[in-house]
């Protein structure tokens, strides 16, 4: 795997995260008493969208065509309430964490620093959504 492949992997994960958080936000908007969760979901959506845009620019500057978002994403389970929303959010963060951990291994300098900090951010958000403390976020079982 090349550094560019790893960065494209991160971009693919961010496309999925942006889609997923759109679902989470939409479902939570229909559930009363979840204003705090809705606000946090919106924040997560914005963060992933920002990283998606940054990665798109970076890959373009490095001379490759950025991987595009899928036309649609199949959800791993039905997302119809608060608990499924949290579960989906945890999965989104854990999967992007794995992509960034891989990018850490395959990059240096500013790209590695970006991946290191993104991995930490994903681990924190995953915990915020309910993931128990993990010894090795993005790599192995807790």
């Amino acid at each position: 795997m090349s550094a560019l492949d790893a960065l494209q992997g991160c971009l693919a994960a961010e496309h999925a995260a942006v889609f997923g958080y759109g679902i989470v936000g939409g479902v939570l908007a229909g559930v009363s008493g979840t204003s705090n969760l809705q606000a946090y979901a919106e924040e997560c959506y914005a963060v992933h969208r920002g990283r998606r845009d940054s990665l798109t620019s970076l890959v373009t500057r490095l001379g490759e065509t950025p991987v595009a978002a899928e036309p649609a994403y199949r959800l791993p389970f039905r997302v119809t309430g608060v608990d499924p929303c949290k579960r989906l959010a945890r999965q989104l963060e854990n999967r992007t964490a794995i992509a960034y951990a891989l990018a850490v291994a395959h990059t240096v300098s500013t790209s590695r620093a970006m991946a290191v900090d993104a991995l930490t951010d994903c681990a924190i958000r995953s915990a915020d959504w309910g993931t128990p403390l993990q010894a090795l976020p993005g790599i192995g079982p807790s």
């Binding site: 090349s2 500057r61 001379g63 850490v104 291994a105 395959h106 590695r112 290191v116 991995l119 915990a127």
Partner: protein, 179 residues
């Protein structure tokens, strides 16, 4: 520690490095070009024997050993605090469990682990003081492992350091540590 023993300790996490030449880099900055063109770190099989006449050691081995000592210091502090602070023992054990796992994978990155003796930090008196100290140590460990991740020559080792750093960031935010 005998120089020959230290010199024989090798890093197992070679590889998973970087792209080779031939990537189109038009329009990118110098730092971005560096990000994708740095040669891969030599594998263990191709690595030359260390030059004992000048006492050179592998910087990544040094980083792992320093990280083990740092992670052990936090582990020892949490364990030493449990008996005297039963009300916060659950939180302390949670952190200690993570530290054990970190130390195990770091030791697994070396061909042989060093003695790893750590001088324990003095245990503070009150629960709040202990929690504050643990949180401070976690924040410092997060910073140190982040630096290790950025500096590591081995990509696989960098990934390990980055993951441990992320784990510390999460642990520092545990409800039980917010005194």
């Amino acid at each position: 520690m005998a120089t020959s023993t230290r010199m024989s300790r090798r890093l197992l996490l070679h590889g998973a490095a970087l792209t080779g030449a031939g990537i189109a880099l038009a329009g990118c900055t110098t730092s971005e070009a560096d990000d994708v063109s740095t040669p891969a770190r030599p594998t263990a099989s191709s690595q030359e024997q260390p030059d004992t006449s000048v006492g050179r050691t592998d910087p990544d081995v040094d980083r792992v050993e320093a990280a083990i000592a740092s992670e052990r210091a936090l582990l020892v502090y949490c364990r030493d605090s449990v008996a005297e602070h039963p009300d916060i023992a659950a939180t302390l054990r949670q952190v200690a469990d993570q530290q054990q796992k970190h130390i195990a994978v770091l030791r697994g990155a070396l061909t042989e682990a060093g003695p790893g003796r750590v001088e324990p930090a003095p245990v503070m008196r009150g629960d709040r003081a202990v929690l504050h100290t643990v949180r401070r140590m976690l924040v410092e460990a997060q910073r140190q492992r982040r630096s290790d991740a950025l500096a590591a020559d081995s990509g696989l080792l960098a990934r390990l350091f980055a993951s441990i750093s992320a784990s510390h960031a999460v642990a520092a935010g545990l409800d039980g540590l917010q005194a």
